[in-house]
Amino acid sequence: MNNSRRTAIKTTGAFATLVSLGIVTQSQAQAAVEQASFQVKTLDDALKAIGGTPATSDQVSVVSPDIAENGAVVPVGATSKLPNTTEMYLIVEKNPTPLSCAFFIPAGTEADVQTRLKMGQSTNVIAVVKADGKLFSASKETKVTLGGCGG
């Protein structure tokens, strides 16, 4: 008997019940599935959670400083010139949980977002975008002089 499969079936069943009862709305359900992606520990798993290995594209760009003095507040942004960009992800390769944030871009919104991230050490920052159902990425190295993840 496969135990983890049992558990998975049980959880899924319980979750479906919650959805059908209207306790968990559809949008929350979707978010809950995705939320697990933020717990993964490695870059490979993070990419898997997003849906595969992206192709490098010069239409995607990462805005991140060359040197960040304070790893607790690093301004990071991403832009995509690809048409029909629907999702954007920011990944900090060497953080304990590499997948930092996800953006869902509805029609009419430009694929141009900016935020501030924490970085534990010097690392590559990777932007992954989904355009027309395909994944594209770009990366940039940022050197951190003072880490921001504690520990």
């Binding site: 978010a31 995705e34 939320q35 933020f38 607790a72 507040v73 690093v74 301004p75 942004g77 900090v92 953080n95 304990p96 949980t97 997948l99 930092s100 944030c101 996800a102 953006f103 869902f104 871009i105 509805p106 009419g108 919104t109 430009e110 141009d112 977002v113 900016q114 935020t115 501030r116 991230l117 924490k118 970085m119 921001g148 993840c149 504690g150 520990g151």
Partner: protein
């Protein structure tokens, strides 16, 4: 209840730039306090921005977004005076919603 967000929305040509500064500790759950005990995770998970009832951006954050998160994005189709509403929900289930008008 957390402190209010600061939201600025400016229209230039046909593109509206929205900048949001949320007030939140964003504890990643990896830091330790002075006694060496882990500080429990407490961060914003979901952010949704709407303009006149239409969703213009949805975002999901993890604990590796900085304290007092900053978010900036652009969208087309806004008009002066339109209402921008930003709502976040954190890992403790707390949420906050604030609004501003496009200037």
């Amino acid at each position: 209840m957390a402190d209010p967000m600061r939201i600025r929305a400016a229209l230039a040509g046909e593109v509206t730039t929205v900048r949001v500064l949320m007030s939140h500790p964003m504890e990643p759950g990896t830091r330790k306090d002075a006694a060496g005990a882990l500080i429990p995770a407490h961060f914003i998970r979901d952010v949704e921005a709407t303009s006149n009832g239409k969703t213009v951006l949805k975002a999901m954050f993890s604990g590796s977004v900085s304290q007092n998160p900053f978010l900036s994005f652009k969208f087309k189709g806004g008009a002066k005076g339109d209402k921008i509403v930003v709502k976040w929900t954190d890992t403790k289930g707390e949420s906050r919603s604030d609004e501003a008008a496009i200037a």
